[in-house]
């Protein structure tokens, strides 16, 4: 589904991502973990096209999307959530989803119908997503007035409503309580069941270990390990990256 080939991003002298090779197969939940500043979020930004790459390629379904603009990639089926929530606060919950739906839904419709028409068929689809996100009661609320957990759910809903093939989740559990994380776990599993491929960046290890099929570990922009959750947990390099190296006496 997603393949990164020698992907690099340098900010001045800082090598945020350095020659990263990664393969995410169709239908899996792939975890990307690593200490703070290891380049995980940069990878997401490169895959969704917010920054140009310094070197390397991003392939989606074997097609090179490295030079495509961000909104075009959404139409190709790549959507994301943000680490620090970025909703349209002055729009209602419903409008947040309606806006995001424009990328895929009703491509066949005429220009005027698409932009100046009413909600029409969009309504059902959005209602379904609202239910999935447990936000049905909040549809007319301004997004900015939602509680934190609800905002996180809405952001996930906004990424899902565009019917992506690949979903990039950048620390979706940050700031959530245990119950909310359980719900998030269930939602990610449901999305996987529906055939989505998920790239999950997360610091909450319980969630990562429970929900992912495979994991890659980044440190200083480079991949230091890759494998199933069990393999990664027992990897010595990973333990050193997280806990520090024991000095040889």
């Amino acid at each position: 589904m997603l393949e990164l080939k020698g992907l690099s991003k340098h900010f001045g002298g800082v090598r945020a991502v350095d020659g990263l090779d990664l393969r995410v197969t169709q239908g899996e939940v792939f975890g990307l973990i690593g200490p703070n500043g290891s380049g995980k979020s940069t990878v997401v930004n490169l895959v969704c096209g917010l920054f140009p790459v310094t070197a390397g390629q991003v392939l989606l379904r074997n097609e090179d999307i490295t030079s495509l603009a961000s909104h075009v990639r959404v139409a190709c089926g790549v959507t994301r959530t943000f680490q620090n929530i970025r909703l349209f606060g002055q729009l209602s919950v419903w409008q947040n989803l309606w806006v995001a739906q424009n990328a895929v839904e009703h491509r066949s419709e005429g220009f005027l119908r698409r932009w100046l028409g009413g909600p029409g068929r969009a309504r059902e689809e959005i209602d379904r997503i609202l239910e999935f996100s447990d936000l049905s009661g909040k549809r007319d609320e301004l997004a900015g007035n939602l509680a934190f957990g609800e905002q996180r759910r809405l952001e996930l809903a906004r990424a899902v409503v565009a019917k992506p093939a690949l979903l990039l989740l950048d620390e979706p559990a940050a700031g959530m309580n245990a119950e909310e994380i359980d719900q998030l776990d269930a939602r990610i599993r449901k999305l996987k069941q529906d055939g989505l491929t998920v790239l999950l960046i997360e610091h909450h290890m319980e969630l990562v270990m429970a929900v992912t099929d495979r994991i890659a570990v980044l440190n200083f922009g480079q991949k230091i390990a890759e494998g199933t959750p069990d393999e990664v947990q027992t990897n010595r390099l990973v333990q050193e990256a997280y806990l520090g190296v024991a000095e040889a006496a």
Partner: protein, 309 residues
């Protein structure tokens, strides 16, 4: 009476100008170019009726179109810069337009007199309305017909997906991009629609004042254009209308008796309004309140509905 008719004309034309800035401001762009588009509309429409002998309707349509095309062309380079830099870039464009008309001399002899724009002296004798026997009231209705049309169109747009998309871009461009919105296209489209509306307003303005000159289209006008939607709030097109009535009707005309003190009070009142209502005179909460009121009135057992039955 004539005074109030004249004031209503000014309010109408300034509403069009304010609405043109409203479109652009929805996408988060502060543009000081609206007075420039307004000037282009004014000169194009006036030249078409005076020099080419057109009827006013095709003339203002053409003026609107030309201003829209210019706005689209300005939009592409100008929208590459953001925030304060965009303010400076659009201000520079507005001044360039003004100075162009300051130097624009295209006079044609008609018998004894010369007609047409005469550079710094301005463009005199735009006499379509008197020549065709339109009364002040006719002109007023003509102006407000267009104000109503534009407001209805924008009100419709506001409630459609396009309106939500414009606001989304205005709130957070990165999030909008990630929601699949082509941010550049949306911003240029908003600028173009703003140009169309400003050109229309300018075309009408030229004909009711009968005399236009470069000095009318300076920074002051550009500031007014952007002040209306900021003051009125971006929640509804009616906010802009109310802001124009507030500024033109109350602050400028209503306080004329204060003489020079007016200008001081003018600034102070705008500051006060912005502090009391930071999201504009009509904000989302006001609209929600009006909606609730309407729903309550529809409920059975309500005093008003009972009285009506």
């Amino acid at each position: 009476m004539d005074f109030y008719l004249g004031l209503a004309q000014i309010v109408g034309v300034h509403t069009l100008l304010g609405l043109s800035a409203y479109c652009v401001l929805l996408t988060g762009q502060v543009s000081l170019a609206q007075a420039g588009f307004f000037a282009i509309g004014a000169y194009v429409a006036a030249m078409l009726t005076v020099l080419a002998g057109w009827h006013i309707l095709p003339a203002i349509a053409a003026a609107s179109f030309v201003a829209g095309v210019v706005a689209c062309a300005v939009g592409f380079p100008a929208l590459r810069v953001k925030g304060l830099m965009l303010v400076v870039a659009t201000l520079a464009f507005g001044e360039a337009v003004r100075l162009f008309f300051f130097n624009f001399d295209y006079q044609v002899a008609r018998g004894e007199v010369k007609i047409g724009p005469a550079g710094g002296e301005g463009f005199r004798q735009i006499r379509f309305f008197p020549e065709h026997g339109w009364s002040t009231l006719d002109v007023l209705l003509f102006i407000w017909l267009f104000v109503a049309l534009v407001m209805a169109a924008l009100w419709w747009m506001d409630r459609s997906r396009a309106g939500a998309v414009l606001r989304a871009v205005g709130e957070d461009e990165v999030a909008a991009q990630s929601a699949g919105i082509n941010v550049t296209a949306v911003k240029v489209a908003a600028m173009t629609v703003g140009g169309l509306i400003a050109g229309l307003g300018g075309g009408i303005f030229a004909h009711y004042t009968a005399h236009i000159e470069h000095a009318q289209f300076g920074v002051a006008l550009a500031t007014f254009a952007i002040a209306y939607p900021i003051l009125g709030g971006l929640s509804s097109v009616f906010g802009t209308l109310i802001a124009v009535i507030f500024v033109q009707g109350f602050l400028i005309e209503g306080l004329r008796f204060l003489g020079d003190w007016r200008n001081l009070l003018f600034g102070g009142l705008i500051l006060l309004a912005m502090n009391v209502r930071p999201r504009g005179l009509i904000d989302a909460a006001t609209i929600a309140g009006i909606k609730r009121l309407r729903i309550r009135n529809r409920e059975p057992g309500n005093a008003r509905t009972q009285g009506a039955e």
